[in-house]
C-alpha cells in the first residue's frame, strides 16, 4: 500500500520542474567551463609574454628550508635582511637518520671548565649562564667526591617539551631538544618541569646585546639571545649540521666527552678523536643515566668516576657576580 500524501513521492509536474532545473544547471555548468577555459588560455598567454625577458642563465640556489632550486638569474633579487630565523624549518626537523647521543666519562673530568667557556662564547652567554656546568658531586658521605659536567640531557621523554604552552621548545627526530626564542613567551614552566636544572632564562638584556642587534636569529645556535626568553644546551645543533662535534666536546682537554650517533652505534672522543662502539663503551664501563627513575629517558650517558688518576679538588673558580 502506498500513501499518496507522503511528501517523498513527487507528482508528475514536480518531476518535470526538477528535470528542467537540472537542464538549466547543466547548461550553466557548461557555460562556466567555457568561460574558465577562455580565461585560462588568456592568462597563460599573458604569462608566456611576461616570460620572454629571461636571460637563459640559470642559477642553482639553496632555499631557506634547505631545498635546491633552479632560478633564472634575472629573477634573483637581493634582500636587505630576511627577518626570518635561520633554519626555521629544518631547525625543527633535525638531521635525517641521526640519533645524537653523548657519553660523559666522569673518571676523566678534572673541572678544567674549558667546555663551559667555549660554550658560553658560542652562545653569547654571561658568566653565570650555563648551558653546560661542572658540578662538584658527592653521592653519600662515605663515597668520594667527583666532578660532573651537566648539560641538557636531551631526554627522549622531555618534561620541558610536554609543558610548553606554545611549542617553543621541541624535540627533534634526531634526538635534540631545542628552544625557539622567537616563539618563547617566557612563562618558565619548562624550567620548573626540568629535573636536571638544565634551563636558563634571560632575566635582563643579554650579554653585548647591542653588538648583535639586527642579526638574524639562528634557532640551531640560539643566538642572538633574547631578553625574556629561555636558553639551553642545544647539543651544538649548528655544528652537527656542519658534520662537526659540539663545542664542549671538542674543547675538552681531558677526553671526558664522547659524542656520536646511536643509529651507527659509534661515538667519537672529542679530545683523542678516537671512535668507539657506543654499546661496548657503556657495557664495559658501567654507563648510566642521571635519575632514570623519573622516566625522562636522557640521551646523555655517564661513565662512573672510578680509577681516577688525579685527586679531587674543590672548585676554586670565583662565583660570578650578582646579576
Amino acid at each position: 500500500m502506498e500513501d499518496k500524501n507522503t511528501p517523498h513521492a513527487p507528482n508528475e509536474s514536480e518531476t518535470q520542474k526538477n528535470s528542467s532545473r537540472r537542464d538549466f544547471l547543466k547548461n550553466l555548468g557548461l557555460a562556466g567551463v567555457g568561460v574558465a577555459t577562455g580565461a585560462a588560455a588568456l592568462y597563460s598567454g599573458h604569462i608566456f609574454e611576461a616570460k620572454k625577458d629571461v636571460s637563459g642563465d640559470q642559477k642553482v640556489l639553496l632555499t631557506q628550508d634547505g631545498k635546491l632550486v633552479q632560478v633564472d638569474s634575472l629573477e634573483i633579487k637581493a634582500l636587505e635582511k630576511t627577518g626570518v630565523a635561520l633554519h626555521e624549518v629544518e631547525g625543527r626537523e633535525g638531521i635525517p637518520g641521526r640519533r645524537w647521543v653523548m657519553v660523559t666519562d666522569l673518571s676523566k673530568c678534572r673541572n678544567a671548565r674549558k667546555c663551559i667557556n667555549v660554550c658560553q662564547d658560542a652562545h653569547q652567554l654571561r658568566p653565570e649562564q650555563y648551558h653546560m656546568n661542572t658540578l662538584q658531586m658527592q653521592d653519600t658521605p662515605a663515597t668520594a667526591p667527583y666532578n660532573m659536567p651537566k648539560n641538557c640531557q636531551h631526554c627522549d621523554n622531555p618534561p620541558c617539551v610536554a609543558v610548553c604552552p606554545v611549542d617553543a621548545t621541541y624535540k627533534r627526530p634526531d634526538g635534540v631538544v631545542l628552544i625557539d626564542n622567537e616563539r618563547c613567551i617566557g612563562c618558565r614552566f619548562c624550567m620548573a618541569a626540568c629535573p636536571y636544572s638544565a634551563r636558563i632564562f634571560n632575566w635582563i638584556e643579554p650579554k653585548d646585546a647591542a653588538n648583535y642587534q639586527g642579526q638574524d636569529y639562528n634557532v640551531e645556535l640560539n643566538v642572538p639571545q633574547k631578553v625574556g626568553t629561555i636558553s639551553k644546551c642545544l647539543f651544538s645543533a649548528d655544528r652537527l649540521r656542519e658534520g662537526k662535534l659540539p663545542y664542549c666536546v671538542e674543547a675538552c682537554p681531558n677526553g671526558v666527552y664522547y659524542f656520536g650517533d646511536e643509529n651507527e652505534d659509534a661515538v667519537t672522543n672529542g679530545t683523542t678523536k678516537e671512535t668507539v662502539r657506543l654499546s661496548k663503551l657503556l657495557r664495559d664501563n658501567g654507563g648510566y643515566q642521571l635519575m632514570p627513575e623519573l622516566g625522562t629517558k636522557p640521551r646523555v650517558y655517564y661513565l662512573p668516576p672510578k680509577n681516577r688518576l688525579f685527586p679531587f679538588e674543590e672548585a676554586t673558580d670565583a662565583t660570578p657576580e650578582k646579576v
Partner: protein
Amino acid sequence: MTMDDNKLTFDKITSDLTHHIRINKGFLIWMGFLTISLLICLYAYSLQLSKGLGVAGIRDYVTWGMYLANFVFFVAASLIGMLISAVLGLIGMKWLTPITRIAETIAVAFAAVAGLVIVSDMGRPERLAYVFLYGRPQSPILWDVTVITTYFVLSLLLLFLPLIADMAIIHRKVSTLPSWLKPVYKVLSLNFTDHPEQNKIINRAIRILLILLIPAALSIHTVTSWLFAVTSRAGWDSTIFGPYFVSGAFVAGSAAVIIAMFFFRKNYKLQDYLTDMHFNNMGKVLATVSLVYLYFNINEFLVPGYKLKRADAVHLHELFVGKDAILFWIVQIGGLILPILFMLFRRFRKPLPIMLISIAVLMAAWVKRYLIVVPTQEHPFLPIQHVPQNFVHYSPTLIETLISIAPFILVLIIITLISKFFPVIPLHETAREKGIEHIKFD
C-alpha cells in the same frame, strides 16, 4: 498583610539596599587613594616591561616567585563563588541570600585579576596571543587559560542575571539615583517587568549557571595545582594537590567573604540584612572548610615526612625546622589550627572576632601559596653551584613587591565599583523572601 504594609516594607527594603548608590566624598577619597596606589604599582610594572623580568628577585633556580604565588592566591579566592552560590545555594540554604552577591562579586573580581596577574610573570607579555595562536593542548597552561576564562564568564553572568530585576526596580523606584546612571540601569534591566515568565527564564538560567559553575570552579583550581603537580620536584610531586588546593581555596574565599560582609555591613548600614546569624553561619562554613584543609595538610606533610625520600627530606627539613620554618609554623598554627579552635566557640563567630580571624586566615593563605611555590625550587635534584648568591636564595625586590600589590588594589577597585553602583544584597530576591509577591512597575 494589607497593600499599604506591603508597600511600606518594599520601599524600606529598596531604600535600605540602595541608599549607598551615590557618589559621596568617602567614595571619591577611597577611589583616589586606590587609583594613585595603582599608578605607582603600574610604574613599577613599566620598569619591568622595559628592563625584563630581572627587576624582580626571581632567578634561574627559583624562577617562580611572588607573581606565581599571587596567581595561585587569586585563583583560590575566586573559588568562593562556587561554594556559596552553587554548592550551598543548590542545597537550598535560604540564609545565604544576602551573601550570594558578595560571593559572586569576589569571584568575578579575583578571577578577572588572576588572568592579569599571570601576565606579570611572563618574560615576553607582548607574545600573550601566541598562547592562542600556537597553543598546545598538552600543556596545563592551555587548560588553565581555558577554564579560567570559562569560570570568569560564568561568574560574570551569575552576577548579572539576578541584577536584572534589581536594576529594573532601581531605575524606576529610586529617586536619589544620580541622573546619569538612570539610563544605564534602564538598558541593563533589559525591559524587566517582573512578569512571571521573565522570572521563570531568569531563574532557570541561574540554575543552569550554578550547575555549570561547579565543574568549572573545580577545574580552575585543580588545573592550577597541576602546574606544580605535573613536575617531579619534591614538594610538588603530589597526587592530592588538586583537592589540597581546592579545599585551601575555600578557606581563603570564605575568609574574604566574611571580611567583605563586615565592611559592607558597617559602611552601607546593612545591619538588618547581614545579621549576627549570617556571621555565625559563615564562621561555621569557614571552620568546616578549614578542618577539611587541615586534613589535606596532614596528608600532604605526614606521608612524605614518614618516608623521607632524599629530595622530600631536604624539602621538609627546610619547612619544619630550617630556613622557612618560622613562616611555615605561623601559617599552619596561626592561620589554620588556632582559627579552627577559636571558631568552635560561638562568641568568636560574632562579626568583629570572626572578621579578625578571617584577616589572619586570608593573610596566612597568601603566605601558604608562597610556601608552596618558592621553597621547592630552592632545592632541586642537582646542587646549585657556580652561580651568584642571589640565584641560590630568593628574595623579592621592591619593584616585584609593588607589582605584586597591584592586583590587590585592582581587586579592591573592582569590588568597590560593583558594590557602590549595585545593591550589595539582592534586592528583588530579598523582597520576595520578605513576602512581597509582585512588584508594581508603574
